[in-house]
Symmetry: C2
Amino acid sequence: MKLEEVINRIQPLDQTAMQEARARQDTLTKPQGSLGRLEELSIQLAGIMGKPIPAIKDKVIITMAGDHGVVAEGVSAYPQEVTPEMVLNFLAGGAAINVLARHVNARVVVVDMGVASDIPANEKLIVKKVAYGTANMAKGPAMTREQATESILSGVEIVETEIARGLDIVGTGDMGIGNTTPSAAIACALMKQPPKEIAGRGTGVDDEGLKRKIGVIQRALDINQPNPNDGLDVLAKVGGFEIGGLAGVMLGAAAHRKPVMVDGFISTAAAMIAVSIAPQCRDYLISAHRSKEHGHGLMLDWLNLNPLFDLDLRLGEGTGAALGISLAEAACKILAEMATFGEAGVSEK
Amino acid sequence: MKLEEVINRIQPLDQTAMQEARARQDTLTKPQGSLGRLEELSIQLAGIMGKPIPAIKDKVIITMAGDHGVVAEGVSAYPQEVTPEMVLNFLAGGAAINVLARHVNARVVVVDMGVASDIPANEKLIVKKVAYGTANMAKGPAMTREQATESILSGVEIVETEIARGLDIVGTGDMGIGNTTPSAAIACALMKQPPKEIAGRGTGVDDEGLKRKIGVIQRALDINQPNPNDGLDVLAKVGGFEIGGLAGVMLGAAAHRKPVMVDGFISTAAAMIAVSIAPQCRDYLISAHRSKEHGHGLMLDWLNLNPLFDLDLRLGEGTGAALGISLAEAACKILAEMATFGEAGVSEK
């Protein structure tokens, strides 16, 4: 599989399906437009799936883990061993994403994209380890261009496998100690913004930690000079394996006309890489929520995405995406299950 | 049952349960506070139910219908017969609230609080008709003080019946052509604001209709002079039967330590009546969403409630409350089901 083939397969939304969905919304027993964002969402989903009455049954959250060499610079409040420990927590079903995925009846797919240690073999864990963590981007490129491509193509492959198993919507999730640092660096590179406009406290660094993090991002940008017109270059220079993997999930989903519920800060950085590589994939993305992480709102503006929730979440894992998936399912049910004015014998205006 | 007894029964939240819930949140495998509003919500629910690990299983939406004499002034885009027609739609399961309640696995309880016509007998319909619609508040009081009390006590009785059947959370919903007009009038009376600051387009009146509506509300306030220090007087002078009923649901739920998910504009007006009558009931209320209806944000500020969603909804029926109930359930599951750092063997900061 070549990345170019995936990109070329991504088609515009189905305008006819969208018009039919809009027309049906306007016949349902409610004032026109009174379900606001739910109506808009149902129409986008119609366009994505190419069906005037789209349905969401099989829901999948793909949570990708990776480590980051840049943690050597002291950018995170937690030690690096938390990455594999949390992967084990995902596999055991005890993490927030497990709880919320069960709540919305989604399955969680856990992927090792590049954790710095070996995780004991587990039939539920997909291993696509590109390397044992990225290199320290404050001293040189995080990965090679070949590794960047490999991470994206692994994401495409994983989502294609899940589509074959049954997938009507996919949510993105991440785990990786230190990964708000490369995510912020990606945003800075693509948006040409200084790190202080984007970087936040991640899992909870203090004022001094935040200052150090901003300095580290600036050094990574200065040393690597990522090319803002080349998403693959940005991913290679200042990205991460799980971020590349998630960009691949988005591109692969879009290529197969499947909607993507984008989680928070890290997933949005992945979305920026995906959209840089294939701008037409943007219409397949739905932003679940505005993270509490500084700069996330600007990144969503750059993508022209309007988040569904604003619940001060800053956990990642796909937690916001799980909640968003439930809203997308509700939006489809409104379109499919509500009575029309005619059917219900309700008078119109 | 006397209203005073209900009011006296409403106790402060259980601070011990809230402290225990907060302490448990801080041991779960996530950075402290990283689930934002979901964590806050779980703690409020602990305080409401008086349990350190609250659980939500039985979910109920109470949707109350009533008609309004003020529609004679041409304040709505829809004819009055839509109220009973939509009640039949609720009973048949074809309305938006039915779809969303099914989505979140809640049962819908439909109540005729004062529809202007007789609705054919239906075992699923609870009839608590105070009268065949309110009087035209632009010409005098919408109802007597006795009718206002009756509407509230009916709401208390209905929620108590549902609690006996099994109820862990109740969502409020409304149906009543013209009811954004009394709701706005209630807010104006209690907040001492002019109608133009509060009134909106309801189901969709045009500019001229909105101007007329604002004038009608001003006339109702001028003629009736509702006393802002007496919630029952405000309800009687410029309220509605379904609004009084919903205020009663809130008071009754609070008296039994049950959380209330408050829907949009009309439910928020009912919440203002409930809080005017018994200020301590406020802590039992959760605002589901900020409605697109003008003035709703100001009403929520007055109540000191912070809505969970902002999805441009303006339908009522309890649609926003249904979505909010799902979030409340998720918040409880996070607290109950997530592993602690110790249980999962995950390293701390």
